[in-house]
Amino acid sequence: MSRQPKAVALISGGLDSLLAARVMQEQGVHVEGINFYTGFCVEGHTHAIRKRDRNRPKRNNALWVAEQLGIKLHIVDIVEEYKQVVFNPRHGYGAHLNPCLDCKIFMVRKALEWIRARDFDFIITGEVVGQRPMSQRKETMPVVAEESGAQDLLLRPLCARNLPPTLPEREGWVDRERLYDFSGRSRKPQMELARHFGFEDYAQPAGGCCFLTDAQYSVKLADLWKARGSKQYEMDDIMLLKVGRHLRPAPHFKLIIAREEGEGNFLRGYRSQYDSLTTLSHPGPLALIDGEVNERELELAARLVARYSQGRESERVELEYTRRGGESRRLEVRPLPAHEIPREWIL
C-alpha cells in the first residue's frame, strides 16, 4: 500500500477497544473510532436523571478513550435500525434480552458500510476469543466476520494470532507478529498491556455497557412487549424502563413511580403523554400511569402511590390526578398496606 493504512475501530469505551486501537496505532495505522448509540447504553442516562448521581464525576467513556488515543470519534445513532436486532435476533438472546451475537454482527456491518463510504481499509475490534459467553467464542468469531460481510477486513488485534490471518495481515499492512494471542475471560493480559501503554483510570463496566444484559431491565422490557401484544418500543419507552419503580397491577396498565427527586423531575417531563399522580398531603413521589384506568383502578393506583409517600402510615393521603391533557382533580385514599401488594405486580 502506497499510503498509510486506515482503520476504523469499534469503540465501546472499555479497555479492550482502547488497547486494540492503540496496538494498531503502534503499527503506524491511521485509526478513527466509531461508537454506536442503540438507546440501551448504560452510561449517561441514569447519571443524568438521578439527583444523587448528578454530582458524581461523569464522563462518556467512548469520548474519553478517543481522547486518550488522540483519534476522532464518530458517534452513530442506530436506535431505529437496531430495533430489528432486538426484536428478531437470528442467533437468539443471551441470559436476558441481550442479542449479543446479532448485535456484534450488526455493528460490524455498519462499520463496513462506514469504511466503504470513506475509503478506509479495514475494521478493528477489541474482541478476545473466549471473553464473552455469546459473541466472543471461538465458534462465533468467524460468524461475525461472515454474516456482517466484513470477512477478512475484520481484524481483532488482541487475539489475531489465535485466528486465521486477515487481509491487513496477509498484505503486510500490519505485522501479525506484533499482534496478540489473548484468550479466555482473564483480564490480566489486558491490564498488563494497559500498563505497558501507560493507560490508567480506564472503564471496566461489570456485565457490559448495555441495559439488555441487565436482568431487571429485561423483565421490564418483556413486560412491555407482553402488555402491548407485540415486540415494539419507542425511544421514550426504553428511557422510561430505566427510571423509577414499575408496578403492573393489571395487564392493561402499570405505574412508574419515581424513587427520588431527580427521577420525579425526569418523569414530570412526560406528563403531557401520560396521566399522572402526585401526593399533596404528604411528601411523595410523582407517578405516571401507563395505560387507561377506570375509577376503581385509579383508586388502586392512588393507594399504591400513597404507599410510597411519607404518608404510608396515615389513614388518608390526598393526591392530585392529572390527565395528560392537563385537567386535574383531587382524590383521597387510604395507602395500600405493603402486604396487599402482590410480588408479581413489582417488575
Binding site: H47, A48, I49
Partner: protein, 77 residues
C-alpha cells in the same frame, strides 16, 4: 459565517453530542452552533467531543436549568 441554534433539550447524552456532530457536518469552518441542552452531562461530553474533533467551545453558560454551549466549527470539519 453562519450561526445556528440547536435544540437538544430533554435529550440525554450522548444524543446532544450526536445532534451536534450531525449539524456540524453540514457547516463550514468558522460557523457557530449554539447548543441548548438540559442534560448537565453535555458540560463534559460536548467539550470532549470538540477537543478530539478539532472544534472549539467558545462559551458555556447555564440559564434556568438549561446549559448553553457555543461551538465554533474547526478547520478539520
Amino acid at each position: 459565517m453562519s450561526r445556528v441554534r440547536l435544540d437538544c433539550r430533554r435529550l440525554l447524552c450522548p444524543l446532544p453530542v450526536i445532534r451536534l456532530q450531525d449539524r456540524v457536518e453540514t457547516l463550514a469552518p468558522g460557523d457557530l452552533v449554539e447548543a441548548v441542552c438540559t442534560d448537565p452531562g453535555v458540560l463534559n461530553d460536548i467539550p470532549a467531543w470538540c477537543r478530539i474533533n478539532g472544534h472549539a467551545v467558545l462559551e458555556r453558560r447555564s440559564e434556568q436549568g438549561e446549559f448553553i454551549l457555543l461551538v465554533e466549527v474547526g478547520a478539520g470539519a
